[in-house]
Amino acid sequence: MTVEAPTGPATLGQSRRGRWGAGSILPVVVILALLLIAVGIRQPDFYDPPALLAFLKRAAPLIILAAGQYFVIVAGDFDLSVGSLVTAEVVIAARMIDGDPSATWPVVALVLGFGLLVGLVNGLVTTRLLVPSFITTLGMYLILVGAVYTWTGGSPRGALSEEFRMLGRRGIEGVPWLGEIPYAVLILLVLAALAILAMRSDFGKVLLAVGDNPRAARLAGGRVAGVRTIAFVISGGCAAVAAILLGGFGGVSFQVGAGLEFTAITAVVLGGVVLGGGRGSVVGAMLGALTLQTLLTLLNLLGVAGALASAVQGLIILAAVAIGGLRART
């Protein structure tokens, strides 16, 4: 039983609100372009293909998280559990692998499975027990953080194998002109393509309709609870992939996922997606994440210290969202 939305709500929103309005990706593209120009002026070799790919590699986990968060937000929900899920996944992987290379692939499967399972629980509690997703995922956040600390006794144990870290760190080497193509970038491209395809499918159309008006979507025959649950499963899966990549970059710590839920939500909103659902595109969400990463790179290049960077970040987010909101009104 599928529903053909008569007009995609995204295009509907765009025609009503103009190209600058809420849900449009034009503002984020402009901001991203300006930031990229600024980075290029400050560091001209940023545009060498290897440097650019290295930048994309660093940005990949956040972009993947933002894509996952998009599915949840566009249906009108929140997923506050992704940051703690990333931490939990990295800690679990380190403890299960414990430096043993032969354990790598089973643990990768376990990590992905656990991410999907957490998403499924989030989705079922939200849709079947009617708990607002903000509370469901806040509870899941507390549970995951507490469980990981309890399980490890307060400090992470074990170590990731080199094979596991390869996914986040290394790439296909010796490619002419490009140098090394990081695996993280390949994974990102595959997931981005899948996300775009998903939003073009019937599932994506129903998801947008649910976010726009759940009652209308239900009356039109949409499987509201089903698509919302799937959105949470996607978000959990994306968090698992991001955890695998982040585990490769950095060390194993309880800080690896801290605050990522807010960063991902910010990225999605920066990409023109409206909290409350129904408007915005997954491409916008991913561009929002890229913009945020570019902003952090630029602040770093300008020598703005870590502490002040969060203030500047806050200011720019407020400005960007305010401009989007005002444009939507006029």
């Binding site: 027990l129 903000f134 953080v145 469980a147 203030a311 500047v312 407020l318 305010a322």
Partner: protein
């Protein structure tokens, strides 16, 4: 008017009962568990520390109740707490004569932050989640840039707020109950309170009925930030100095929202009240106290806390749905 206030009140009483019932059961079961373990949940020491813990979170949660009732929320409270604890301790600088200026400074700064939050949400139409998150990031940046550790000092006279008690009840807990009582009166009896509920219930309907919803939301956020400022004063008094990370490390942003929702206030706004929030805060504190007495792994506490919050809201939601079904059947 009576029918309106009756319909407004009905679900509120229902979920408030829920949290007090849960609190009573937790106290009985917890008391028995602790007693079989050879301790006492109701001993002087454990009661004092239990109420002490409830006070800080409670004051913030009362403010958060206003924001959530209005259909908004405030994620900046944790950083407001840290900031105001520093303002208080640095202005006082250990001198008795400067307590009053310090309190006034805290009120002014926290009120101004609330005003900014409210203006961002109403005039620039930024979603409350993003607006208060952004303001929180701004304050966080300022705190991390300017402070590496505790700063300022609080005179002994001001530490009475943090350490004195009347019988087993800490002064700070009385302050929390006082703040909650004033908030209860404002929400139940004042025009602002009724407008607040109306705005949270349905913004457009409230506006069309002549409520100046923007002004209601701005005042709501000022109240919420002021409560965070009071909590900052209390923590400064308790710690003897201002602490740049006390708010974020205490998790006051998400915990205060959890306490409000645990108390039966609906996250979408318009339904709930301060009485439930007091119950929610006490429930969280009692659970904490029981686990401390049983010497359970402190991290495991957090797991239980997460389960309790989700389970409580699930029960409220199911009960509400059953009631709607019953009403529909009766009609």
């Amino acid at each position: 008017m009576t029918t309106l206030s009756e319909t407004l009140r009905r679900p509120r009483i229902d979920s408030t009962n829920g949290v007090w019932l849960a609190l009573g059961m937790t106290l009985i079961i917890g008391g028995i568990l602790v007693a079989t373990d050879g301790g006492s949940l109701f001993g002087q020491n454990s009661t004092v520390s239990l109420l002490q813990r409830a006070a800080g979170l409670g004051i913030v949660a009362v403010g958060q109740t206003f924001a959530i009732l209005a259909g908004s929320l405030d994620l900046s409270v944790a950083y407001v707490i840290s900031l105001t604890s520093l303002i208080a301790a640095e202005t006082m600088a250990g001198s008795d004569g400067r307590v009053l200026p310090a309190i006034l400074a805290v009120v002014a700064v926290s009120g101004a932050i609330g005003l900014v939050n409210g203006l961002l949400i109403t005039k620039l139409r930024i979603n409350a989640f993003i607006a208060t998150l952004g303001v929180g990031l701004l304050i966080k940046g300022y705190l991390e840039q300017g402070y590496a550790g505790p700063a300022g000092s609080v005179p002994v006279s001001f530490q009475h707020l943090g350490y004195d008690r009347v019988g087993p009840v800490p002064v700070a807990f009385l302050l929390f109950i006082g703040v909650a009582a004033v908030a209860w009166l404002v929400i139940k009896r004042s025009r602002f309170g009724h407008h607040l509920i109306a705005t949270g219930g349905d913004l457009d309907v409230a506006r069309l009925s002549g409520v100046r919803t923007d002004w209601v939301l701005i005042r709501t956020h000022i109240v919420c930030s002021l409560c965070a400022g009071i909590a900052g004063l209390y923590l400064a008094s308790r710690l003897g100095a201002g602490a740049p990370r006390v708010g974020a490390e205490g998790g006051y942003d998400l915990e205060s929202i959890a306490a409000v929702v645990l108390g039966g206030t609906v996250l979408a706004g318009g339904k709930g009240g301060v009485a439930g929030t007091v119950g929610g805060v006490l429930l969280l504190a009692v659970i904490d106290g029981i686990f401390n007495q049983l010497a359970v792994d402190p991290f495991f506490k957090q797991v239980v806390r997460g389960v309790v919050i989700v389970a409580a809201v699930a029960i409220y939601a199911l009960r509400l749905r059953r009631k709607v079904v019953r009403k529909a059947a009766a009609a």
